[in-house]
């Protein structure tokens, strides 16, 4: 009774009940079923993006020095952070799917026709805004994928005729991709695009209410029924299913976070998010000066055709069979996108998982337990434990520091005597990168594999790469066994000059014990 009095009081001053009735009692034609729930799902998913986005913003730092670490903090250390980031990350894909299904429903039912032309156009603009969110959000974690995918995006803008360079400079915010770019894209992602999204969603919903929903293709006998609760219950059940699936994704799959962005590593070939993969693949068929055809002309024409669809198709017939041009056009577009996406997946470079433990990183973990490191790098020590140390310096600094800590950190307490080999330093660096990329401790090895790992970490890592760790001075040993057998490897490692007088590699025959030599030869020969 008292609650009713309070509601009466508020209603008398705000018209709350009338507003609620206007919102919820909209009469809907008979015969609309589950086809019409997609819009509500989309709105619900956008709401989840907004909420999870706000929480992520509480912890994210849009600066190159901190962005990656703040995302790592969210993923690994914040309570529910991994799930929140998962909801936001997978939610983006869900939105793209829901938006496309919603659009296909509208096309199939001919719902874009008079008087709903502007409803359709605001919908297409909303789709573009959603893709804008996806594009700008991609850079924010500041990992390798983010950095190099954004480099590609900016280069695509550059390829546009006439204003390309100016547009690229504008979205880059400076002469190079860096701090200003990150801040700019962050601002777009959390201020500009949400403002545009809310504006267009309101316009879209207003227009939807103004003209009512289009209803089934053939009018169904029966009297109209209010939205609430008859359609609302379908929408709610659909939302619950979407939420359950999204939550399952967010809790079961780890959101990828690559190694931290390294502008000097131009070997990295980025791959875009799956919904941009068709465009990425299209680019491969238009090399050189033809590139703008794939980057600007074709996508531009598709968007223009979509926007203007209701102006071209003005006949009142709604049934898909009576609109063969439109349905076959969409079918062709759909097939093209699916085929290009499939080819894009097949054609994508495979990236080594940055959290995968290669032999050099495993050896580095062992070296990092050495007293030379733990004298300072321990809980309660002069510096943080290595497993928990941010990599803020260049690789050159880090290697020099491991080799001789005292020269790099003057005044460090009780500098450890001696140092480590540059190869061991590389291994420790690989260990720190790997533990930082995944937070999973390394597997423990025993016997010959363990001996081989330590040999590789102690002697090889300063010149060779294995599983993405080490240096590129000599050949990559990841698949050493594919080209060379154990006999050749043994001869080569023992005395390279005996095999090839011009060999650059030093001889290790006198540095390795027979067991060590056998272990590393067997290990490398088995890598195929």
């Amino acid at each position: 009774m008292r609650l009713r009095t309070i509601v009466d009081w508020i209603d008398a001053r705000t018209g709350l009940r009338a507003a609620r009735s206007h919102l919820l009692d909209e009469p809907l034609p008979a015969g609309i079923g589950w086809w019409f729930v997609m819009g509500s799902i989309l709105l619900f998913l956008l709401g989840i993006q907004l909420l999870t986005g706000v929480v992520l913003t509480m912890y994210y730092v849009p600066a190159p020095d901190h962005a990656y670490d703040s995302v790592r903090f969210i993923t690994d250390r914040l309570s529910f952070g991994r799930i929140i980031r998962g909801l936001h990350f997978f939610g983006a894909s869900f939105i793209v799917i829901a938006a496309v299904v919603h659009m296909l429903r509208v096309v199939l039912f001919g719902s874009y026709k008079k008087p709903r032309e502007l409803t359709w156009m605001t919908g297409i603009l909303l789709l573009l805004i959603i893709l804008g969110f996806a594009l700008t959000g991609y850079l924010l974690p500041w990992d390798q994928k983010a950095y190099w995918a954004t480099t590609v995006t900016i280069n695509i803008a550059r390829s546009a005729p006439l204003f390309g360079e100016s547009v690229a400079s504008l979205i880059r915010g400076g002469p190079d991709l860096g701090a200003l770019t990150l801040l700019r894209w962050y601002t777009a992602h959390v201020f500009l695009l949400p403002a545009a999204l809310i504006g267009f969603v309101v316009a879209h919903l207003y227009l939807m209410r103004r003209h009512g929903i289009s209803g089934p293709l053939q009018p169904v006998m029966g009297s109209p029924r209010p939205f609430y609760p008859y359609q609302a219950v379908k929408d709610t059940v659909a939302m619950a299913i979407a939420f359950a699936v999204l939550l399952t994704f967010a809790t079961s799959f780890r959101v990828p976070l690559d190694a931290v962005a390294d502008p000097s590593d131009s070997r990295y070939v980025p791959r875009p998010e799956w919904y941009f993969l068709s465009l990425f693949q299209l680019l491969k068929y238009f090399p050189g000066p033809l590139e703008p055809i794939a980057t600007i002309v074709i996508p531009g024409l598709v968007v223009l055709a979509l926007l203007l669809l209701p102006l071209f198709d003005r006949r009142p017939n709604r049934h898909p069979r009576e609109r063969r041009m439109v349905t076959s056009g969409f079918a062709a577009l759909g097939v093209a996108i699916v085929v290009l996406t499939f080819l894009g997946f097949k054609d994508s470079p495979a990236h080594a998982d940055p959290a995968h433990w290669g032999p050099i990183a495993i050896a580095g973990h062992e070296f990092a337990q050495h007293q030379q490191c733990t004298t300072c790098h321990r809980v309660g020590g002069a510096a943080n434990p290595l497993s928990n140390t941010r990599l803020r310096k260049t690789p050159e600094w880090l290697v020099a520091h491991v080799v001789d800590p005292d020269t790099i950190v003057p005044g460090s307490r009780r500098p450890p005597r001696g140092g480590m080999t540059p190869s061991q330093a590389q291994s420790i660096l690989s260990y720190m990168r790997t533990i930082r990329a995944g937070g999973i401790p390394p597997p423990s090895l025993e016997g010959e594999a363990h001996v081989a790992t330590i040999v590789l970490g102690t002697y090889c890592a300063n010149c060779h790469m294995i599983d993405g760790n080490g240096r590129h001075e000599g050949p990559d040993l990841t698949q050493a066994g594919e080209k060379r057998d154990s006999k050749w490897l043994r001869a080569w490692i023992s005395d390279p000059e005996a095999v090839d007088p011009d060999a650059q590699m030093p001889s290790f025959g006198d540095r390795l014990s027979p067991e060590e030599l056998t272990a590393v030869v067997n290990y490398l020969a088995a890598r195929k």
Partner: protein, 163 residues
């Protein structure tokens, strides 16, 4: 005809009520799940206690008997996603055999740094004239409470403090 109004028939009203219940139930469950996850993530770090560790402060032999000796300790700690190094100044006071008390050097009035006046045998704050004796108790001036004491422990010849 606009819509069938609720309550026109008994059965329809019951159906509406039933459907409304389903809607409220499902939306309530989704809302609760989201509130739990988002609220948890938004507030969790606010309630995390500061982690403490034992830090080496000084060799026991270096401390004079009964005289507050300032020591600077580098404390590395986690600050959210960041790692910071705090430099904290403490007074160590050795009394008797291997008994060491540690006093914070931060004045309990407004947080200025107190210093040891050997002539007066008092710890004095330069800001508003707060004065403490060698046990940290307030001797004069505005400080509302004695200087904070910090847990100490002696291991061999090493004095450790908990920060």
């Amino acid at each position: 005809m606009r819509t069938q109004r609720a309550g026109s028939a008994h059965g329809d009203a019951g159906r509406r009520q039933f459907l409304s219940g389903i809607i409220a139930g499902i939306q309530g469950a989704i809302g609760a799940a989201l509130a739990f996850l988002l609220g948890g993530a938004a507030t969790a770090p606010s309630f995390h206690a500061r982690q403490t560790n034992w830090w080496p402060a000084a060799p026991l032999d270096d401390l004079p008997e009964g005289e507050p000796t300032p020591v600077t300790i580098r404390v590395t700690r986690e600050d959210g996603y960041n790692q910071v190094v705090d430099r904290q100044v403490l007074f160590l006071i050795k009394s008797g055999d291997a008994q060491v008390t540690a006093l914070s050097s931060t004045c309990t009035h407004l947080g200025c740094r107190v210093s040891w006046d050997a002539a007066a045998q008092l710890l004095k704050c330069p800001c508003h004239g707060g004065v403490f004796d060698r046990t940290g108790a307030v001797n004069a001036g505005p400080p509302p409470a004695p200087l904070h004491t910090i847990e100490t422990r002696v291991e061999g010849n090493q004095v450790l403090v908990q920060l």
